[in-house]
């Protein structure tokens, strides 16, 4: 929590990034669970009148969670951009550019001032450059997951971009192979994400990963997995064409990484992972892409995970920081 407090402290120049990231991740998770999952699986609830009232209340709350998440995103993205701009590493300062580009183009598109092709290309620019810079920040541990994330966005987003060109006189091409590339690289992103937390493996995170994998496998297998695969398509941008076990292991990997990072007190990277999951892969809307941009920006800003303290009795006192943490404090301090 020391890092969290420090980031939230205006004196350290953190622009409240950590509390904002946490709040955004929580709001996005609530929105994902209620609006994008519950209200869409409620089709299985019998359409009896007695169920209508509770359903309406939950649907209302889900929509409210969505707007809370949107409002937080509009605060978090500029805060992340400013924090990156104040970083000491060139890589961090560079990462402020794609965040700013996305904020500007998404804002312009909301007012009808940016065309779809411009919006899509600049969105891909933001995601790919941030993923590249996140690789630089997380070094070899981030090479595979963020490389695959960038490839997944380029492939599935590239398909959308190429189809968009038809609207302005482009050629009618069948590039559906791009979707297969996007699907594979998206799954590989999830499968390789535990590399970020490889030094923080413990029984709890392993158990959480295993439990998530088992639950996901059960959902994908039970009853043919029709609803689960539709939710996979809607929520994660994956078509579900691979065997169910692949997605189950991917879900387990995501859960493992999240829990391991939380337990290693790497709150911001953990929330960043949650934002990437909530945002999904590919181009859906500027809200979901914004979550991905925020997640990647937080990962560019975040500290690398450290092994958990072996002896809680010798936990570092406040004010005593390791070399790497000093760099982080400096890297987020405004000039």
């Amino acid at each position: 929590m020391a890092a969290l407090r420090r980031w939230g402290d205006p004196a350290s120049g953190g622009y409240h990034v950590a509390p904002l990231t946490v709040a955004l991740a929580v709001a996005a998770a609530v929105e994902l669970l209620i609006l994008r999952t519950f209200t869409r699986t409620a089709i299985h609830i019998p359409a009896v009148e007695v169920m209508q009232g509770p359903y309406d209340v939950l649907a209302f709350l889900g929509r409210y969670a969505y707007f809370v998440s949107v409002a937080l995103l509009m605060l978090a993205l500029p805060a992340l951009g400013l924090s990156l701009f104040a970083g000491v590493r060139h890589g961090q300062r560079l990462a402020a550019i794609p965040v700013a580009v996305f904020v500007l183009v998404a804002g312009a598109a909301a007012f009808g001032l940016a065309g779809r092709l411009t919006l899509d290309l600049l969105t891909l620019f933001s995601v790919v450059t941030l993923a590249g810079l996140a690789v630089g920040r997380w070094r070899l541990a981030g090479l595979m997951p963020f490389g695959m994330l960038a490839l997944a966005f380029l492939a599935s987003g590239g398909y959308t971009v190429l189809q968009s060109t038809n609207r302005v006189g482009g050629a009618d091409v069948n590039a559906s192979w791009l979707l297969s590339v996007g699907e594979l690289s998206g799954v590989l992103f999830a499968l390789s994400l535990p590399l970020l937390a490889r030094r923080n493996t413990d029984r709890v995170s392993s158990a959480a990963g295993l439990a998530a994998a088992v639950v996901a496998f059960g959902m994908l297998v039970a009853g043919g997995g029709a609803t689960s695969r539709i939710l996979l398509l809607w929520n994660a941008g994956l078509s579900g064409t691979l065997p169910g076990i692949v997605y189950a292991v991917a879900a387990g990997s995501l859960a493992f990484t999240f829990v391991a990072l939380v337990r290693a007190r790497q709150t911001v990277p953990a929330m960043a992972v949650a934002l990437l999951v909530a945002g999904g892969l590919g181009l859906h809307n500027t809200y979901q892409t914004g979550l991905v941009v925020a997640g990647l920006a937080a990962l560019c800003l975040a500290d690398k995970p450290r092994p958990p303290a072996t002896n809680p009795l010798v936990e570092r006192p406040q004010g005593v920081v390791e070399q790497d943490e000093t760099a982080m404090t400096l890297s987020t301090a405004p000039n």
Binding site: A59, Y64, D172, R229
Partner: protein
């Protein structure tokens, strides 16, 4: 102490501000997020496209390949045999025309035998009354869907069983007595070809799919190459709030489902898309379709983005010491 209290109040005011802003956005139904899904744009047609899918008017209408994936029904796992649907849209005198074309080498338009299933296609839109984007699976309680369903067998009409079972012997001629055609006698629309090849349906949840009171969608399908091309048409304004509504200068969502009869597709066993955005443009079809220049620029942009991403990753790793 004073600074701590100040921070506390600041956090509280930010939290309240966010909650209030969210409430205002919801109350005003002002969603600042912009859709980034595939776009099918309906431009104004120079002439009435009619229901003929081979009409020359469609030549210049931009086509978007909408990807489909399998919908695995609980008991009839399958679907997914059709990978993409090419979708085009036009409008003419406040009437929307949608043309979909897909590859399907087998013609399945006879469903007299119980083991036969028809080729078909359906378009799904949010109902005019929907308060949010509905669930793609038959809508949801607060957001219904309107489905336009074309079937090859409905278009072809009934085939006399005598022509299907050529060796069958009957005691008497039953052709004109509907009592022997139980589905037709019970009012099943699929057994009544005079109702046309397209049904407009409404749904709010599983198990509530039913024909709309007013059947106002026209359609026609023809074989095109190794597949089908089907045109749907309807006036902008539907007959009631359960139907989709369109207007020039507006956008709505649209999903596509395709059934391949020879793959035993029926009901929930089909190939489905996600929602794409249908935009009704108030302008005519732009000229110069298919010149490929913009396409080339888009490809170059994507390649450039890849190079930038790789370059930044290498740069960042070098800056971090490569560990």
């Amino acid at each position: 102490m004073k600074i701590q209290r100040l921070r506390h109040w600041r956090s509280l005011s930010v939290t309240l501000g966010v909650l209030a802003a969210a409430g205002l956005l919801q109350f005003a139904d002002a969603n600042p997020a912009v859709s980034q899904t595939l776009f099918v744009t309906a431009y104004e047609a120079p002439d009435d496209p009619g229901l003929d899918p081979t009409s020359g008017v469609w030549k210049d209408a931009p086509a978007v390949r909408v990807p489909l994936s399998a919908q695995l029904g609980s008991y009839a796992a399958g679907g997914g045999s059709v990978a993409t649907v090419s979708a085009q849209a036009l409008h003419y005198k406040e009437k929307l025309y949608l043309r979909v074309q897909w590859a399907d080498p087998t013609v399945d338009e006879n469903t007299t035998k119980v083991e036969d299933f028809s080729d078909a296609v359906a378009l799904e839109f949010p109902a005019r009354s929907a308060s949010s984007v509905p669930a793609i699976c038959m809508g949801q309680a607060d957001a219904g869907v309107n489905i336009w369903h074309w079937r090859a067998d409905s278009q072809k009409g009934l085939t006399d069983p005598v022509n299907i079972y050529v060796g069958a012997l009957v005691d008497q001629d039953v052709k004109k007595d509907t009592l022997f055609y139980t589905a037709r006698d019970a009012g099943n629309p699929f057994a009544n070809p005079e109702l046309g090849p397209v049904q407009t349906l409404i749904s709010r949840t599983f198990g509530t799919l039913s024909p709309a009171n007013v059947q106002d969608v026209a359609g026609k399908g023809v074989r095109a190459g190794d597949g089908w091309a089907v045109v749907f048409s309807r006036a902008y304004r539907g007959s009631d709030f359960d139907q989709a509504a369109f207007a020039a200068g507006t956008k709505t969502d649209m999903a596509v489902a395709v059934w391949n009869g020879s793959e035993d597709d029926r009901n929930g066993r089909k190939s489905v898309s996600q929602f794409v955005t249908l935009q009704i443009a108030a302008t005519e079809v732009p000229g110069g379709g298919g010149n490929g220049m913009v396409f080339g620029l888009a490809v170059l942009s994507l390649l450039g983005l890849s190079a930038i991403g790789v370059g930044l990753a290498v740069y960042g790793m070098k800056e971090s010491g490569g560990r």
